[in-house]
């Protein structure tokens, strides 16, 4: 039996991390959160610009950012920032040759801290 196929694109090859180890997951999530944070930065600047357009624009802006959807998006930014920042500590340490054989354990510890931090933020942000 024979089945035709196409060669997977290079982008698709990058997404084969489910078969891979902790390091690849850490790397993929780092990329993903970096892209998210970069997009967020532009959105942030774009929205903040409205502050310069007088009091009525300011009021509209404040009512917009008070919506629950906005709070949820802000929380996603916090999660992305926490993960990216904490994993960044791991990447910096290993890049200096520190604790490289323990990069896996380091990932789990920092991932745990990021998860706990995200939970703490969720409780504060959604129960206020």
């Amino acid at each position: 039996m024979s089945v035709q196929t196409r060669s997977p694109s290079r982008a698709a090859q990058w997404l084969n991390f489910p078969h891979r180890g902790v390091g690849m997951w850490a790397f993929a999530m780092n990329r993903l959160s970096a892209l998210g944070l970069a997009v967020y930065l532009f959105l942030h600047l774009f929205l903040l610009r409205q502050l310069a357009e007088g009091p009525s624009a300011f009021d509209r802006f404040i009512s917009l950012v008070r919506s629950p959807l906005f709070t949820l998006s802000e929380w996603v930014v916090v999660v992305g920032g926490l993960y990216h920042g904490l994993n960044g500590v791991r990447v910096i340490l290993t890049s200096l040759g520190v604790a490289v054989p323990y990069q896996r354990q380091m990932f789990w510890i920092l991932f745990g801290i990021a998860a706990l931090g995200s939970l703490a933020f969720a409780i504060r942000m959604f129960t206020a």
């Binding site: 039996m1 024979s2 089945v3 035709q4 196929t5 196409r6 060669s7 290079r10 090859q13 990058w14 084969n16 991390f17 078969h19 891979r20 180890g21 902790v22 390091g23 690849m24 850490a26 790397f27 993929a28 780092n30 990329r31 990447v91 290993t94 890049s95 200096l96 040759g97 490289v100 054989p101 990069q103 896996r104």
Partner: protein, 253 residues
Amino acid sequence: MTAEVWTVTFRVFRRKGAEAPHYDFFRLEVSPDEYVLDAIERIWAFHDRSLVYRYACHHATCGACGMRVNSVEKLTCITTIRSVARDGGEVTVEPLRNFPVISDLTVDMGDLYRSMEAVHYPAVSPVAAAPLPTIPAKDGISPGGPLREEPDAHRLNDCIECGLCVSACPIATTTAGYLGPAVLAAIQFQGISGKPALAGLADCEDGVWRCHSAYECTAVCPSLVDPGWRIMDLRKQAIGRRFRRLFGRGETA
């Protein structure tokens, strides 16, 4: 005792020349303790003589039989069928990534070999100097044992140039110019202090700084080279060298 027999379907990547790739399916009765390479050889011998694959030593020394088994790089001569399949199941066998496919399961590794030669990766080195960062010696066979005391004892260096690390590396997939884990590990093995040519190769955009710390090279390396650790150590060396140059202490420092 009757030998255990499994029925396993091998889904094998095929491609000849510029032809579009496809998968062929072969159902085989195998012993789960046979190796994936045994099954490939049997497919060639009894089912399809046009299947092209590469192997030589059958004992993890030549580094020729690297393939992707269920999307993960393996030396197929030491990968038991039991470890990648189950009775009645399917196993996908594909050529290594990040190398051009010559035919079916065989890829062109010329670039890797040429780069290893260009950085003068030595075939042997003194046992006493064997850097074994993460593998503590537990027995007399390991280089950390009594052999270490023998002044003339040499050993074959760990890297068998199998290319598994290059295939596993997500950065090698998207950046053709990246030196890659095997070559960087070969540079680290020699050290860059007092070797400006090696230092220049390692300490540049497509050298150690291109790595994004996915550690897949280390995860798949069948020969305890631990390229991930070596790339990070090379970064440390590169930073040290830059600092020394900054304070006017050149290559010899």
